[in-house]
Symmetry: D2
Subunit: 307 residues, 4 copies
């Protein structure tokens, strides 16, 4: 079946459940987003775009930025990344400090908050000498997404900063274990700015196609990661990409994916396409409710899980 047909079917099927769940409320600015929205897009390796619903509406990518942050750090630093952050599922909520204490400040993986803070710290250190730390991740995403006007929402970033007590706790905690080199304030600020990046479904689906293409950006031919590294990022998405529901997500959807509390989920089919779905109302683990179901339908209808 054609991708477009599949997306249209999914869009029709999920309509009754759009809005089921809860919009993230711990960041006041995000709580203002209307839950009754849904968009989905696929970009294949020839760059062809398929879309349904509000696939052009920008939203806050939130934790999806952790995927791009890790990719950039891995691109810049290679395997030394893993000396400071693990690659195991955490089995705990995304903002838990318990495991961090038992494992002496080394976060379980780069997709929980603690891990992303360490990755942010690495990027700050890397760019400090070279200048331009501030927008390094955004410039990288613009390249991946082939779009120059990707930016972040200042009000959301400010809102996150004002409520960043838990993340600040984590960053200080890791600093007490010696696993954070920059000032806590700088790391938190960069982290909040990255979470507040705005993109739409089409942008995001396009921005992850390199992971479906052995690490090479399809339209430019630029090698972001070598083939092994790209596959490894995909494996990490599958095991750790959707908070404490990663096992359930792999079980139901069977595709590498990374979600954000803004309601977006990026996914990909190796060798075929990048995918992004968005709907702001979340299930209890923090993943988009309608978005998860849409992806489950996508693999059911297309028969295209990786398993």
């Amino acid at each position: 079946m054609e991708y477009q047909t599949i997306l249209d079917r999914i869009h029709a099927a999920v309509k009754p459940i759009i809005g089921t769940g809860k919009v993230a409320s711990y960041i006041p600015e995000l709580a203002k987003v209307s839950p009754d929205q849904f968009g989905i897009a696929i970009v294949d390796l020839e760059g062809k775009v398929y879309q349904a619903g509000a696939a052009d509406t920008p939203f806050s990518i939130q934790s999806i930025s952790k995927l791009f942050g890790l990719t950039l750090a891995f691109h810049l630093e290679g395997d030394s990344v893993w000396s400071r952050v693990g690659r195991e599922p955490s089995g705990s909520p995304f903002n838990s400090l318990v495991q961090l204490e038992y494992e002496r400040g080394k976060p379980r993986n780069p997709f929980i908050n603690a891990g992303a803070l360490v990755v942010t710290d690495m990027l700050l250190t890397h760019h400090a000498a070279r200048g331009g730390a501030e927008n390094a991740l955004i410039r990288f995403i613009r390249k991946l997404g082939n779009k120059d006007d990707i930016g972040f929402d200042r009000a959301v970033a400010q809102s996150e900063l004002r409520t960043a007590h838990r993340n600040t706790a984590m960053a200080n905690f890791m600093k007490s274990f010696g696993n954070l080199n920059n000032d806590v304030e700088d790391v938190i600020e960069a982290y909040c700015r990255n979470c507040a990046i705005e993109m739409n479904c089409v942008d995001l689906a396009r921005a992850v196609t390199f992971l479906a293409n052995r690490g090479v950006v399809p339209w430019s031919g630029e090698k972001i990661l070598d083939e092994g590294a790209a596959k490894r990022i995909n494996a990490l998405m599958l095991t750790c990409g959707t908070y404490d529901a990663a096992g359930d997500f792999a079980f139901r959807v069977g595709l590498p994916a990374k979600s954000g509390v803004g309601g977006g989920i990026v996914a990909l089919i190796p060798g075929e396409c990048g995918i992004c779905v968005w709907s702001p109302a979340l299930e209890t683990s923090g993943n988009s409710y309608a978005g998860s179901i849409a992806l489950e339908m996508l693999t059911s209808i297309s028969g295209r899980s990786i398993f």
Copy 2:
């Protein structure tokens, strides 16, 4: 490259590291096994067998039996399995009771000991009325492996029983939460017997081919699970199949796999083949050291990870 060529190359390459690690010692009978052994086998969907090293030497399948136990329970009971056991990675050692306490007696997944005890309990209940509980799992494996003389090692089973204090603790703990219906002794005995099943690499590679074939046993055409269910078991293997190193294993190997402390690891490439590698010396997480590296080489050389 031909599978046989790949296996021969792997066999040659791993020779220097065979024996690195530690043979499981907490079960006295297992501690007697010589660490200097290695075997690997692939069985493709036409039933063609490729093998290298001691692929015909029988060994104790240990936790690999958890995969067959789950498959049988899922086959018999369908999704009701998930009301009593989760499908998330545990983020904790395979025999930890901590998470079990916080989650009130519901094990995280069927591949940690607590989860396998619950699955064993389900099978006991199922067969109680119908007779033949004792050998139900072995009969099922004989069918999957197309071999009539698969059995268990009585000395190993006895040895496990005598040192089963931790598993007995778990079973009693779950019973205190109402998540175990049969007598603890019966569950523990059946569990130990299943762990003591003996098979060789070729048998095991053949026995998992149905998971690479959408749930259908290739040579008999028997549908064990429907396509969706088979894919879900594969997803579970990827996220939870190799103890607390599942993330790392997915990262490095990128194939659904289930390991046992006897040193065996089964894996599969969807649409292509079943795989089994065996070498008794283990790394610290309880997976075969040489076996893990052999599988990592297999995906590197063949370019065949699922990502």
Copy 3:
């Protein structure tokens, strides 16, 4: 003020709250006890008895037996007791396995279930060679309480045995760490029998007077423990004697005390008297609700806390 006047006042004052709380229900036989009962007794160092309410009604002493068990073990084994059980408050519910796992099978103190199981194991080992293990603790309590017909309730012991899954879990768990020498079944059976011992308030108040008298039984002059050891048991009662509410209990009552889920609480004023209060309805931590308040009144009215 005279003890008798104080007890009469307390009895009058607590009347409206007798029955507030919940009778322990996890042991079916205990759940049958009527909550509307209350008794209190004081025995001074001359043996004079003061009492109010149902101070002659026998009840199940439950965890108060842990105090006698520890005393006997300390009497027989001296400081070697502390190599197998700690003396720190646990900060966790009385039947938690979490801390036991982190601390590798050594219970925090002898007044939580795990610790009492270890003490029971010590006593079994001690008496095994000498015969009479079965009734050793009862004989010891008869001597302390100066009463020959103290025994245990067979129905309660059986009821506890049938629901002992959690304790059996703990015992097996400790055995897996090498901190239990006898068979789990034997330890659990002895433990349940000890919990099912029946005594009344007067008996219990009398049985603890030696702890108020520097380790010497007042009427017989028998030295059970030397002065330092008696004070140490008292300290342990204060810090660990009332489940996870020991801090609150010390804060409000300020006397060494040990409670049981049968609704009894023994306490003592060093140099003055033994005390026992009983009322079956419990607050959420497992201590008698009316009993705790009665003891709080006792120290308020008499001005006799140890602080």
Copy 4:
């Protein structure tokens, strides 16, 4: 025996072990203190001073300030203190965040760091409207210690501030649960200043005499706390005053006490005297090694434990 004779004996007896243990090193400024020092002082309720060793040498009181902070908060706010901080032993290291997460930001007691941060927050709020928050605790201690020139060491306070990542983590963590009202920076700064207060053994022994005197400062007759409240603070010291060794300390010493990583320990005998011992080298729980042993000798020789 006379207090002076007892102190002289203790001083002679501990000489060989002075310096055993480790000076606190996580605060660089404290690490400079020489371990070979020891002082002890008793102040009775008539104000008579007994002392031995370096009892006039000032040292950093560190966590002993938590006792004064709690007393002041209890004095100012009464029982409402307990709505924001518990009074149970923690069963965990003094700077653990694990329990704080499970108990949703309410610290176990006011003598662990998290609890003292909450108390500091209360005091800041109380004094904010009234001015003089900065030196409120020091003014209070001057009154208790009857000495005008008690102050804090600016270098130590700065040193603590620079290494306060773990405390900052805790404060942010509690703020994320809504259990901190002031700015984290302000709370941490006040907390570090309080820890850096300098006093000697005589000052400290005198400053706690009110707790041995039913809440009344002996020489001025000022009632700091009513009798019940004073006894309750004493109970809290006994159950929670010496980090994760409170049970052991009660067991061995049997007196209400509060220790600090500067090597000081204050204690008291109700109705008799205030006590302070100091020796900078610590055992593994963070209490002065020689100081603990000196107090154990004090109760052994004098026969004066509260039990």
